[in-house]
Symmetry: C2
Subunit: 448 residues, 2 copies
């Protein structure tokens, strides 16, 4: 594969850049056409890489791409999952180059989706192309690319249920996560779930002059701040009633095992330019993001937010609040607990609306499986060091659903790095990781 | 004056609407040209109403309009103060008609500035026109219209200091406030000051993926909410250290006198559609807005605020926070106390920027003065009932400065009503108040 990469590098870049130039922002209705265009582009790429067939399937949301190459009915079947939708690009002024005109700087590709997940799914396309063209294919390979991962994969579970025969597989192979570092390769053996809510605090029926009313009425912004602040106590515990009921406490042994992953606090703080970390009492930083749930405000707005000043008490204030969940917490149940709790803490003088935006459950995958072992051997060969098992803090909500629908475990071979700043301005993907990932994937098929 | 109004009503409406159509939003640089256009329009209106001279004066900010008509060096001189700038119009979608295309509905003019302050200053132009044309003028009258009242009157004090001879007067007459109700006319005998701040809470040096970092780093939005919530305690007291040091507690007698102003709590709550009021323990609603300081968040923003969802921990979160001050509190001192306090409460993991946007002091005016008595008699004659003295919750920052520079007290004859929702969508001004105001102003000159 290394030779194949060397001989085809320029073509690879050209193809990947074409994919990255399509602004497939799933959360923005204005980009609906780009979603279809991106899905069609992927079917072309699948066919040209060697798939027997590839097709765009409509769903109730953005389309799904499915393609496959059959090898033998006796061979194991691998389903490659990826997503072609990307996050929005704001704040746009912080990008050093156009998010949709990718460019290479200092050995990395910069652009929206460079890593998440166009760059990572591209590794699978090219490893597949290599296996087919070099006649090394020994598995049945299926590809499933969705367009709604960044907005909660609303349509995919229903679609997958209706197409479960077509999707049937022995394992799901996914590259949509990070490694601990280039020097410490890791394989993700669990991810958090998510419950994403939007809340509105409503006060007076109109915006008010803050001179005439200030001091006498509940200000929806102040009240929203009060309510948000009360959601996490001084020990970093989430105060939503019943929130921790289904959280499984890990044994000291399991925590020690996960604690083996190297972590440099000074480097971590320096990378983020913060003077201190903050989280739940009694847990390390890696535990706080790996095995513990959390709550974050992802967006807040209300009142006058333009230049200058306006002396207003606004009628409403809003926030987007998400909770990361650990396996065994059920996202729908958490949404209900949150909504009930948030309504219950509304101070007199305001009313509260709470709606669920999306949710998905977390999951764990066994590290004793043949697929995990094959991946571990492949990565070890490419990186010269055995990968460590890790627990990812992010969520790929749909994987828990697919695991349930298809009866197959996901295997998370992710090659992203923290430095890639996915979801943020200047998302990037190191060429060394792109190519190292391709090589590892090709070797995975050799050892699986 | 009543006859004069009846005979000229249509022309009055045409002239006022021309003024209202100019989008003189002082806080928005895009409207710089409109500010000049509005100032020039006012000089034309002054001349056509009968002024000897009227001129636009440049300042370091938006221009000032000054005009005058001399009657006799023996006669008292009245300086009419008003402002031609208006508030921004967002949220624009809540307006039932174009804010800059005024229209009359149900006996009221709807449009930005209909009341604040174009409608109210227009009453003075027309009462003056009446006195001149009907040869009833017995005072020297000066007009001072500024274009920065809504953004803190930054330039006017310096300009007034440089032109204090030209502005010299015995009293300042101002219509930029409200009456308690149409049935309970009132004269404002004090206003609150203001200190308006903008704060930024900075966390990590980039937006972060809330899955990878959620639970482990201080989220600037959550921290901003925590800090804001801590600014007011459970008794409604502002916690900024030293904030109340200069607040003068009113005597039981003074509070009883002000308590004579009628107030219907059920009507108040119904007007605002709120189930309860909220404020400082131990004070009534009118006291909370009239004689006590307060703190409100006027705007807040951070993270992802578009449609849908984005799983981000933002690098920064922002808020505009203003405090209404009572006489004897000094706005600059309060700004410093606030900045020091806000920085001192920043939790580990975030840094804080605080800047002062604008400020102005509050003031009190004596109800035993000849001017107050003349105004009271005039209003009593028009409304059929004696006006009550009241304390306004709003701020006209510049009046305390002008009082100091010119050595003349302001007299606040305001004819706005709560229903006018100034600073909000669908600002309005009742025709009955517009004309009642004109009549009261004409009579004021008769009795002063």
């Amino acid at each position: 594969m290394r030779n194949y990469i060397d001989n085809n590098k320029e073509r690879f870049m050209k193809e990947l850049f074409e994919l990255l130039r399509i602004p497939s922002i799933s959360s923005d209705k204005a980009h609906k056409g780009d979603m279809t265009r991106c899905a069609e582009k992927l079917t072309e790429m699948l066919i040209s890489a060697g798939a027997d067939s590839a097709k765009v399937f409509p769903t109730k949301g953005h389309p799904v791409v499915f393609g496959e190459k059959k090898f033998s009915s006796d061979a194991p079947t691998v389903l490659v999952y990826g997503h072609y939708d990307v996050q929005p690009v704001d704040p746009i002024h912080l990008w050093k180059s156009d998010p949709f005109e990718p460019e290479i700087r200092d050995g990395a590709i910069y652009g929206r989706g460079a890593n998440d997940d166009k760059g990572q799914l591209f590794m699978h396309l090219k490893a597949f192309e290599y296996l087919v063209r070099e006649k090394k294919l020994r598995h049945n390979i299926k590809f499933l690319f969705e367009g709604e991962e960044e907005i909660g994969s609303d349509s995919l579970a229903e679609w997958a249920e209706a197409h479960k025969e077509m999707l049937s597989c022995d394992i799901m192979l996914v590259s949509d996560t990070t490694m601990i570092s280039e020097k410490v390769p890791s394989i993700n053996c669990g991810m958090r779930g998510i419950t994403y809510m939007e809340v509105t605090v409503k006060g007076p029926n109109k915006d008010l002059h803050s001179g005439h009313y200030g001091g006498a009425v509940a200000n929806p912004i102040n009240m929203l701040c009060k309510m948000i602040d009360s959601l996490i106590d001084d020990k970093g515990h989430i105060t939503v009633k019943g929130f921790y009921d289904d959280v499984v406490e890990l044994s000291r042994e399991d925590r020690d095992l996960l604690g083996k992953a190297p972590f440099d606090m000074d480097e971590y703080k320096k990378f983020l330019d913060i003077d201190d970390v903050r989280g739940e009492d009694g847990y390390t930083t890696l535990e706080r993001t790996g095995i513990r749930p959390c709550l974050d405000v992802n967006g807040i707005w209300g009142g006058f937010i333009g230049d200058g000043s306006k002396t207003v008490i606004p009628s409403e204030a809003h926030a987007k609040i998400s909770m990361r969940l650990v396996p065994n917490q059920e996202c729908g149940k958490i949404a209900k607990l949150f909504a009930d709790h948030f309504k219950s803490i509304a101070p007199a003088g305001v009313r509260v609306d709470v709606k669920e935006v999306h949710g998905g459950n977390g999951f764990l995958i066994p590290i004793s499986s043949p697929a995990y072992k094959a991946a571990s051997r492949a990565i070890s060969e490419v990186y010269g060091i055995d990968p460590v098992p890790s627990r990812g803090g992010g969520s790929i909500a749909i994987l828990a659903d697919l695991q349930h629908i298809l009866g197959a475990d996901p295997l998370l071979m992710g090659f992203g790095l923290e430095r890639d700043t996915i979801h943020s301005p200047n998302e990037s993907y190191l060429l060394s990781q792109l190519f190292g990932g391709m090589e590892s994937i090709a070797l995975f098929y050799k050892y699986f």
